[in-house]
């Protein structure tokens, strides 16, 4: 290792992704040639992965879908046999039917006028709505199909599709794999004897939560819905709010074995294309067997794995995702995770709560000011306390100094030990509070309050003034709206305690400089992490640290480099101008200009 340090190695120049201003306007193919093979494959011949995506395509892309179907038929690359028994064998083999207890294969006969055709259904019990299968698939096929079929046997396919099966999401598939993927995602496969293709009906009905209040991002004013673990419910929650015809929900499958369906959501004519491409590229190039949650996904696609602060926003609030989509950002939603990821974000976004947007601007500015204070306190307060009491006695008012002095008089430890003791026991309480079983929960409060609040002071283990410091620090860290950012500040706080204990304000200053350098050089999906502040971007301050009124937020954040910069015209409160009285109109103009 020493050798590698001392010797010169020519650095490998690896061009990182940087979201630039022009990249949105140029055709995306130019900006990332060679990197992105996926993008170009959009409408070409279906690879296996592409097909998997097609399983989940939305109505918006229905036209495309039918195109592709025709193509499939022409290509005729079907591995489904005309012999039903062969198909049955394949399916039983592929699904390990002898081992899988929840796999249901239902064989039956379709009665047509002069004969019966054998068929079978395959689905997983527990993933499907059995009533829908009974009523909309089995019943029509078994009971109501006794009709005259004209023409040749191949037309049965079309006939069944268009006349017999009343189910709304019925898809024709041409390979076993396609059908298998569908079945695993809550579909029901239907094989009919003599056909070279099969049907996949979407009858999914996963057991799961219904839409509930978000657990972690609570607001008082604003929508009270949160994401669930169901992908479609989540995309639905977004579409419900954002009825923009350009809202795209692209499908993508992550995990070679888990095949977790994900959605990339963005607004087509707003989001920067190169950003969308980059998201797609990163997601497609994850080579992993299983992936369970966006928390994992985040680690696979973030720019700086070592940076303490989160580089994408994990939120369980659909309204928050909608706002950010409207600003030109991209959201990633994953099946099985109630948290959506939004990229790119900057350091400001971790300070915001969803509520900010719904409150009048003076209110949300008050909240933001308090949050900045909270961040500073949770990061620096114990460090500053240590620095002052150990190095810079002249900084405190004499009265306070004497109070601290008398409080510390009987404490046997140096104040660093005191601080560590309290901080660690606070972290203990916090961790225990999450793990503790519900019914015993209140006990923890008592223990915590007793140990931290009173007993420790009375036993002269810590000084009462330190309890205040630790308590305020704890409060501060709970006031940080972003869960991940809270972690970041908790970890860094210990670093600052060490630095302050070693060299007072000098140490804190060094720490701030190092962390500043680290943060400023970091990027989140090609956007500098401290964006509207460093580098400063034009008009970046309407919603940077403090918020201007809603009607004044005319532009999307500059650093997102959206295709359309403007969100609203200079004068969005048109009613104020509509008045014939020019006096009031002028006033308003002046107001907005000012």
């Amino acid at each position: 290792m020493i050798k590698s340090l001392l010797l010169f190695h020519e650095p490998q120049v690896k061009k990182p992704f940087i979201l630039t201003e022009d990249s949105g306007n140029v055709n995306s193919g130019n900006t990332n040639t060679g990197e992105d093979s996926a993008k170009t494959g959009e409408n070409k011949e279906p690879s296996r992965r592409k097909k998997n995506e097609n399983l989940l395509l939305k109505k918006v892309e229905k036209i495309k879908l039918t195109d592709r179907e025709k193509k499939n038929q022409k290509d005729g690359k079907s591995d489904i046999s005309r012999q039903l028994s062969e198909n049955l064998k394949t399916i039983e083999e592929r699904f390990s039917a002898s081992l899988n207890g929840d796999l249901i294969i239902r064989q039956f006969d379709i009665t047509v006028k002069d004969s019966t055709i054998a068929a079978f259904l395959v689905f997983f019990d527990g993933l499907v709505n059995t009533k829908v299968i009974d009523d909309d698939i089995l019943q029509p096929l078994m009971l109501l199909s006794n009709l005259d079929i004209k023409g040749d046997r191949d037309d049965i396919l079309k006939y069944i599709r268009s006349h017999i099966l009343p189910h709304n999401q019925l898809k024709e598939v041409h390979t076993h794999q396609e059908l298998i993927d569908e079945v695993y995602f809550g579909g029901c496969g239907l094989y009919i004897d003599g056909l070279e293709s099969a049907f996949a009906a979407d009858v999914k009905d996963f057991p799961g939560r219904s839409v509930e209040r978000p657990n972690n991002e609570l607001v008082i004013r604003g929508p009270q819905e949160g994401f669930t673990e169901n992908l479609r419910a989540n995309t639905g929650l977004i579409r419900k709010r954002l009825m923009d015809q350009n809202l795209i929900a692209e499908n993508i499958i992550i995990g070679n074995r888990s095949k977790t369906p994900c959605s990339i959501m963005y607004i087509k004519d707003v989001a920067n294309e190169s950003l969308v491409n980059e998201v797609r590229r990163r997601l497609k190039n994850i080579d992993v067997d299983y992936i369970m949650d966006t928390g994992e996904l985040e680690q696979f696609i973030e720019d700086n794995p070592a940076l303490p602060a989160p580089q994408m926003l994990a939120t369980e609030r659909p309204d928050r995702v909608c706002t950010m989509l409207a600003e030109g950002r991209v959201a990633i939603i994953m099946h099985g995770s109630p948290f959506a990821l939004v990229v790119p974000i900057t350091s400001n976004d971790i300070m915001y709560s969803a509520e900010d947007q719904f409150l009048r601007f003076p209110y949300s500015n008050l909240l933001r000011f308090i949050r900045i204070l909270a961040i500073l306190m949770s990061l620096l307060l114990p460090g500053i306390y240590l620095a002052i009491t150990n190095y810079h006695h002249e900084m405190i008012p004499t009265d306070l100094l004497l109070a601290i002095m008398s409080a510390r008089e009987k404490v046997p430890f140096p104040s660093v030990v005191e601080v560590f003791l309290m901080e660690i026991s606070f972290e203990l309480i916090r961790e225990a509070g999450i793990r503790i079983p519900g019914p015993i929960g209140p006990t923890l409060g008592i223990i915590g309050a007793l140990i931290l609040g009173q007993a420790a002071v009375e036993a002269n283990i810590v000084s009462p003034i330190l309890i205040i410091v630790v308590a305020v620090t704890g409060l501060g860290s709970f006031a940080i709206p972003n869960f991940s950012a809270g972690f970041a500040f908790r970890i860094l706080r210990f670093a600052f305690i060490m630095l302050a204990a070693l060299s007072g304000f000098l140490g804190i200053t060094v720490g701030l400089i190092l962390i500043g350098l680290w943060m400023v050089s970091a990027k989140s999906f090609g956007v500098p992490y401290f964006a509207p502040i460093a580098p400063r971007t034009a008009g970046g301050f309407t919603d940077a640290i403090f918020k201007s009124p809603a009607w004044k937020q005319e532009k999307r954040p500059d650093y997102v480099n959206a295709k359309k910069q403007k969100m609203q015209p200079k004068i969005s409160r048109k009613w104020a101008l509509a008045n014939e009285n020019s006096q009031s109109g002028d006033d308003d103009k002046g107001d907005q200009n000012g």
Partner: protein, 430 residues
Amino acid sequence: MDRRKRLIAIIMLVAICPLLASCYDAREVDDLGFVIAMGLDRGKTNTLRMTLQIAKPMAGADGGSVGDDLSYEQFSVEAPAVFSGLNMINTFASKQISLTHLKVVVFSSELAREGLKPYLNAMLRGKEFRPNMPIVVARHTAEEYLKSVDPKLVTNAAKYYELVFQSYKYTGLIPKVEFHDFYLASKSPCRNPVAILGDASKFKSVEEFDIKNSTYMDHHRSMPFEGDLFAGDIPALGGARAENVGLAVFDGDKMVGELDGTNTTMYLLCTGDYIHSYWTFPDPLAEGRYVLMNVKQSRKPKHRVEFVDGKPRIDIMLNLEGDLVAVQSDIDYETGDNSLVLESAAEDYIKDHVQKFLDKTINEFQSDICGFGAYARAHFMTWAEWEAYNWHTKYKDATFNLTVNFKVRRPGLILRSGTSEAMESRRDDQ
């Protein structure tokens, strides 16, 4: 590799940090003894007798009763110099002495008359001395002065010192003195420093009260007004027995005289540090009665120095305003000509006092404590010329041209001193 290098670099940096610092300077608060006041006297066995008041940790944090205990412990030691004294005290005081919270330095007038240069230098160099602490000259010994500080209204002496030397803002009876400024003035070719005059009260009971040291005769009054006294002579009991009234006049680093409270007010007026205080004016229309006004400085004074026949002529314009707080004679001074009468009487009164004060600085002390030299400086092209002129020797020839603008602004809660009819009609209304 690049990342690993960076990581190693950061780890090394952090590792070096403790090597460089390693808590070298760290001192726990409770391991230090914080000096809140320092007194310097001429010693019996050595050059200096140093008296330190070291704050005790505040009782009351765990509910303990404060009782009659003093909030400080007083130590005295005889030593050749300030820092050697600190060393000596450290041998028997259990805690390491820290001067970072030193609130006041008291010199005995004996020491001050000999010159403070050796001590000022030590205090300026020592990084623990605060530049904004006040300087007090005790008329007797500093030790006695400090011993008499037993604050009754605040729980700790540090707070007492913080507050008591701010009283110039509302009494005008002590000057505004900060150590750093004192030092600069002591070396300045334009001005001379002053210090707060303090002393322990000489009265122990009401029977002992006398006014024989009062300066009311000098001010041509039949009885002493609030400012016609020096520290230690106030006929008062209760509270801390240490008193601060008046100022010590310096020439360079040597004390040359004392001024009483009234003259201190005039000093503040001339320098512009005056804020507000209550004044007792003789009633211009009623003999033997007084009009009390709260006099404020409405604008900073304007200064101008001209040279007439080689002698400096100093123009001073004072802008003051007053609020009536008591009219003993109940004469209607709120309206009409009476207010003009009062204003001009007050102007004359103030002018007279300021003139006497300035004359005193010339005749008695020949010391420009108001810093008029700074305005005279403007007439010289180079610093060398100015230094060669030697303002300090020329100041005694100065003449003064005083202008006082005084306006009565607010009559207090009585908008108009009632005539009998007005009173009656008011009663009818009710």
